[in-house]
């Protein structure tokens, strides 16, 4: 039985959310999966909220559409959740990966979120690039939190990219630190949440 995984990445124009989605597709395809990455689109403005979508599966994917019911949400910018409902449409028992300096106890999440990965991606990015470009860090955080992708596969995909704004070694170290410096919390038993949703 195959299962389609749906991921939505939130960020701001210029942080590389769309490219991050492509890199994820690359990494997953190199691991033998089928994957499609689709950016949401607007006028490409630096700083405007953007989203990018990813579907992957062991079976071929036909729908070339946006993702409305993600089972994983990755937010690579700490301020976007103030203006965008990043949890909109999430499947019960889903996974959220956030860049934040806060601790879990200081954050609020909807009940249907089962797993949370927290990473100070801005801090890591500033120390590596001297700019808050968080996409590579957050790819590491996604790999760590979701367990759907190995760090090795992610680094392999990064090595195949042409980067415009940063060197490969910086991006590899960003992904590795994102992976190593993410705290993963299982906040609900996934089965219970799914059951509660089914009953409701």
């Amino acid at each position: 039985m195959h299962e389609t995984h749906e991921v939505r990445i939130h960020g701001r124009g210029g942080q590389g959310a769309v490219l991050a989605c492509s890199i994820l597709a690359h990494a997953l395809i190199d691991e033998g999966k089928h994957a499609v990455a689709i950016p949401s689109f607007g006028f490409e403005r630096r700083g405007a909220p953007v989203a990018a979508f990813l579907r992957f599966d062991s079976a071929p994917i036909r729908a070339m559409t946006n993702v409305y019911h993600p089972d994983c949400v990755v937010c690579i910018d700490p301020t976007v959740p103030r203006t965008v409902d990043i949890f909109a449409g999430m499947k019960p028992g889903g996974t959220v990966v956030l860049t934040t300096k806060e601790k879990l106890a200081d954050l609020k999440f909807p009940d249907f979120v089962a797993r949370i990965g927290l990473c100070d991606a801005v801090g890591i990015a500033l120390s590596i690039y001297r700019k808050p470009v968080t996409n590579a860090v957050m790819l590491g955080a996604f790999a760590r939190t979701s367990g759907l992708l190995t760090l090795a596969a992610l680094k392999e995909a990064l090595q195949q990219m042409d980067f415009r704004d940063a060197g490969l070694s910086e991006n590899l170290s960003a992904a590795e630190r994102g992976y190593n410096e993410t705290n993963v919390h299982d906040v609900h038993d996934v089965q219970k949440v799914a059951h509660a949703a089914a009953v409701a």
Binding site: H34, V36, I38, R62, A63, M64, M161, D162, R164
Partner: protein, 413 residues
């Protein structure tokens, strides 16, 4: 969009795959077809296609001349000169760019120049929008260009190469628009098989431009003569030209089938050349689709099938020339139809594909109910849920519930 391909892979002579967006897949297909001249003017959502091509030429991966001209009108005029001089050409445009190109664009089929140009389809202005939709392509559906609409990123690459073989066939000698949907296909990133260059060279053979009118100082000839009017040989000359064009279009229906079959044999990927029938044989209800919407529509058909509903799908790949026989054969199998358009026919209060499906339906000798669905305008999404609704409404025709007007799928989104 950033390049996510690996340049080194294109330099090798082994079949391989890349992970890339639809615009890059088109650029790779162009590169494999070895055009002599690429003329470009960037416009959203086509821009990354010409950026990829420019990069390939700058890197020496594609040995072609790049004409970076001042606008789309100059693009097409320049390429007409190249084609008349015996060169293989490429360009890509969409929406307002196509509108600006219109005057030389409509001359190209009459000149019988076998050009290939991507239309990265985009909705038309106004209101202002820069996003996908097939209004631009539908506006030029009777400009005399062949139109093939791609469903997948892989199909973009494959069709781009095949287009040269079709356009340059001596029974066709007409320009081709390879259409792929702006946004969902142009920027959708997935795995794409890249055929081996030598194999593509073998498949295409040497360029076969229109040698009859090719400019040749040793064989002076008037090209594009003034003809027509109401006197002398004008009327019959003009009819001769027009009939030749129409005959080339009809010949293309056969050549498109032959070239798709040859592509399948050589590369193992069989794309439906004219019309694809999906789960249609025992269906009583069918959707008609065109372009990248089809993937989600097939998913919706599968869901309906799982519920025991006899639903199938008819996808149009070649819209110009219109594949009348293939459409008649498909339409004859079902009792009710929902046609999903990504554009509008202002004259008929429906979608253009709906209108043409009605035309084909006449030739089946039966009258069955058909609904016009219009969705995906200006970048709007047509999801599996939208198609599920279209299927449900089309099935209701069996109980006599006919909306008798177009259903706008994104009206309440």
């Amino acid at each position: 969009m950033s390049a996510v391909t690996e340049p080194s892979r294109l330099a090798t002579n082994k079949p391989s795959f890349v992970v890339c967006e639809g615009n890059e897949a088109a650029a790779i297909g162009v590169g494999l077809s070895r055009p002599d001249v690429v003329a470009v003017y960037p416009i959203t959502p086509q821009s990354s296609l010409v950026e990829h091509l420019s990069q390939m030429i700058a890197d020496g991966r594609l040995r072609a001349d790049l004409m970076n001209v001042e606008g789309e009108h100059a693009v097409m005029c320049g390429l007409q000169g190249v084609a008349l001089a015996g060169g293989r050409t490429f360009t890509a445009t969409c929406g307002p760019g196509l509108a600006f190109m219109f005057e030389p664009y409509v001359r190209t089929p009459g000149l019988r120049l076998p050009m290939v140009a991507s239309l990265v389809t985009r909705d038309l202005l106004s209101p202002q929008c820069v996003w996908g939709g097939q209004q631009d392509a539908m506006v030029v559906r009777d400009a005399g260009w062949i139109q093939m609409y791609c469903e997948t990123v892989q199909e973009i690459l494959d069709t781009t190469v095949m287009a040269y073989k079709i356009a340059e066939h001596r029974d066709v000698m007409l320009p081709i628009n390879v259409c792929h949907d702006g946004n969902y296909l142009s920027f959708g990133v997935t795995r794409v098989e890249v055929p081996d260059q030598q194999e593509v060279d073998d498949f295409l053979g040497p360029p076969n431009v229109n040698w009859h009118i090719a400019l040749d100082p040793s064989r002076p000839m008037g090209v594009d003569p003034l003809t027509g009017g109401a006197g002398g040989a004008g009327p019959r000359n003009f009819v001769r030209y027009r009939k030749g064009q129409v005959r080339g279009m009809q010949n293309a229906l056969r050549v498109i089938r032959e070239v798709h079959a040859a592509w399948g044999e050589k590369f193992g990927r069989y794309h439906a050349p004219l019309v694809e029938e999906y789960r249609l044989d025992d269906a009583d209800t069918a959707l008609v689709t065109i372009g990248s919407m089809t993937g989600a529509a097939k998913d919706a058909v599968d869901i309906a099938r799982d519920k025991g509903e006899a639903v199938g799908l008819i996808k149009i790949k070649t819209f110009r020339p219109f594949p009348l026989q293939a459409m008649v054969a498909a339409l004859a199998k079902v009792k009710r139809i929902g046609v999903v358009d990504r554009s509008v026919s202002f004259g008929w209060n429906c979608g253009p594909v709906y209108q043409e499906t009605l035309g084909a339906l006449y030739h089946t000798g039966k009258s069955i109910p058909v609904i016009s669905f219009i969705g995906g305008l200006a970048g709007a999404d047509i999801t599996v849920e939208h198609f599920a609704r279209a299927i449900a409404l089309t099935r209701e025709l069996q109980w006599g519930r006919d909306p008798n007007e177009p259903v706008w799928l994104n009206e309440n989104d």
